[in-house]
Symmetry: D2
Amino acid sequence: MQKGEWLYLYHDEQTYFLPYEPGGCFSTHYGTLHFPENLEFGDRIETNKGVAFYVLRPSLADLMMKVKRRTTIIYPKEAGIILLELGIESGSRVIEIGSGSGSLTVLLSRIVGSEGRVYSFERRPEHQEMAIANVKKFGKPERVEFILKDPVAEGGFGIEGVDAVFVDIPTPWVIVPQVWQALRPGGHVGFLSPNIEQVQTTVKRLEETGFVRIRTMEVWTRGIRVKEFLTRPFDRMIGHTGYLFFAQKVSSPAPEYGPEYWI
Amino acid sequence: MQKGEWLYLYHDEQTYFLPYEPGGCFSTHYGTLHFPENLEFGDRIETNKGVAFYVLRPSLADLMMKVKRRTTIIYPKEAGIILLELGIESGSRVIEIGSGSGSLTVLLSRIVGSEGRVYSFERRPEHQEMAIANVKKFGKPERVEFILKDPVAEGGFGIEGVDAVFVDIPTPWVIVPQVWQALRPGGHVGFLSPNIEQVQTTVKRLEETGFVRIRTMEVWTRGIRVKEFLTRPFDRMIGHTGYLFFAQKVSSPAPEYGPEYWI
Amino acid sequence: MQKGEWLYLYHDEQTYFLPYEPGGCFSTHYGTLHFPENLEFGDRIETNKGVAFYVLRPSLADLMMKVKRRTTIIYPKEAGIILLELGIESGSRVIEIGSGSGSLTVLLSRIVGSEGRVYSFERRPEHQEMAIANVKKFGKPERVEFILKDPVAEGGFGIEGVDAVFVDIPTPWVIVPQVWQALRPGGHVGFLSPNIEQVQTTVKRLEETGFVRIRTMEVWTRGIRVKEFLTRPFDRMIGHTGYLFFAQKVSSPAPEYGPEYWI
Amino acid sequence: MQKGEWLYLYHDEQTYFLPYEPGGCFSTHYGTLHFPENLEFGDRIETNKGVAFYVLRPSLADLMMKVKRRTTIIYPKEAGIILLELGIESGSRVIEIGSGSGSLTVLLSRIVGSEGRVYSFERRPEHQEMAIANVKKFGKPERVEFILKDPVAEGGFGIEGVDAVFVDIPTPWVIVPQVWQALRPGGHVGFLSPNIEQVQTTVKRLEETGFVRIRTMEVWTRGIRVKEFLTRPFDRMIGHTGYLFFAQKVSSPAPEYGPEYWI
């Protein structure tokens, strides 16, 4: 492992997330850990009280969840669907608005690869700062352009022909024309909104503006404990984060079209 | 658009998925479509009966769902989580077993980028053939190595140090040692199994073999129709495709550890 | 068993629901069954082709699901919650509108007992006829008063002091004042509506009219196949039937109150 | 209202549950309430600080949730389904084991009416005491026989021909023969168990013992906040309380039968 690489310290009842400091030490509720010079992922180390911890590689989901937050973040359960429905892959050019705390930016920067590009828009400087810091820690900042701008008030995104746009702002309907302008023909837009009225209002605007194949969904995950004779789902789960909805840009509006059936 | 490029023909009540044939024609229930020489994504074309269709870019989810099938395929709702939990990004080296119909292979080949690599194992030649055909149509075949082999019977994968392994076979527990061998330290393994007994058996084997942070989950999505005064979730949804479970390789077994809490 | 009693004929792959006819016979895909004079619940009888059927008592859920239908019916998953949230028990006096096909009427008539009473309102004669026929077959018709009337157009229910009212009509908001009039103080009202706009509109009206403790919910059930090494939830489930919402009558309106938190 | 009657004090952010004491007073975070001699349900009363509370009738769901607890209780979402699948109505004779804290006993005693009967078995005296106290407060104790006994160790229930049995004990499989003995032919048994292994073990025993139409399910509810431009499901929900499973007694075992399909 290299100095500064992020590691996920795993003990059954407790986990920690920190950068590797060769020769450093770290205090836990279970005693103090000393990190050797040649620590490797997968290693098992013990505290001075004899409690074992494992040194694990964080997953993409871990990185997204560990960003420092000023705002609600995008969760992995939604982020996975967003990638697939927006067609974001190695080489994609993507706009995101707003940057928020940068949890989705971290993911996007790792998916689009060295040939892709993420344009992350935010109008509040303090959010942008935090997003930049998080992408520097957990993402690939060289693939991201952070732009401090309100595209509604300030004449649009100023970028054209992107493959996909993802919108997570409180009034998503106001930005629909700017999204249409920025997308390449047939391109994908996605939204995440907590309230149904946000969806209702934005869907109507999408239909009027030149988007088709509008579809809305919810995503749930439920954890399950697998243990001999105690196998059962966990008692509590997240019942709602937001409604996800998607559409595709067409050359001319199609107000006669309704939303697509979706299973 | 280029000849042979896949397009998603969209009409409210009907969609078609086909490669672009400049000057060609295509018959639908709503009449015949003629494709001009200079068709572009986003275009609106009409059948000889005056019914409008839109020419859309398929998303990654579309490509996965449109593979020809001999087997159950991996659905987008699970595939998104798989990427994030296994940490599959641009540049990753990934093993998948089995190839099945290649729906996940299509996705992986588009995510790992030109510097990544997918090793897709399958022991049944007829499945492999179909997976190869599907990746040629919808994926990036130059990034995939298709291997016809049963790693359990034939001495393991023969590849080491991969970032992640995804297992979708009927008896996932038998392949746990081979997966351990193939992964780099701290690397991620994921499974999708329809029956709880498959999970119970495999989790036990993982605990004995040198994996920690074992976690199991289900994923659901539900579509919602958004239409003025008729907004409501769709009546039917998929209640189960399979249990997703994940773990990470460590240098030494940790049988004393239980599965992690997950929300 | 008595002549005319309803029985549930159960064979693994096929079930039938019919009244008992001593000495009668019944043709199935698996051959013909002859019913002896002294048939009892729990008996096992065989067709002339040697296929075994079991003679079972229908549950309340069976009776509700077996009504002849002209309309969407209330399903057991919602009906159970309705009883508990409306406080419908032995001795209760309850209004239901509309009668629909009578599936809920069947249930209510069996719950309220000989000292309770169900007032079932319907404005379409053909629905009322079917509801009456279904309650005669599966319920306790002597406890139900069927009333052909539109309480909105025709001056209210004409009944006062009932314990609970259940509303299942397309425009539930129009009937809120009449419901308030019919309920005893502190009494419960429940609604089932498929579309969110119906809920939004009716909740607003409830707040203005003198109802508090307004709460809205969805209910899901998912079946699970339990079979050795094949235990798994069923693939498909009902994703939505309707939103259930409840409130309680107070003496004076409380527009300042918002809806209650509910887990 | 009569002295001692239970009332549900409702204020938007806070609720209380207590018996009515004419002339008494009650202190809340919002000040002190004085109860007049002639308090009625639906009344609005104010604390000395001017905060309004409404006096509401508790629903059956409220009564179940408000029992004092030593054990996990049965929740309304499951209790409703239990009534319908077991066919418990006015006049039913029902066995319940164990009494637990009596939340289900409260409900059953109110549903079976004056002609029905609940036999509530419990082997731990301290649980029985609490169940009795709760039924006295919230149920109809004159319809319930509380029996302190372990029917497995002590020769069965000693009661025969009941319409339905509900089992909520940690090892439900051990009591299957006793349940068979107690039920009338074609009668219904239901179980609630948190762990899948309990279900797997008990279903096997049911198949061997003379039960058919075995079916297993989960139930979820999710609350929704309905408020102008803020309408959305609540963030958190209960992901699991237990698996519900049901079967019917037949005269002879039917090991060849698998579990029924259920949607």
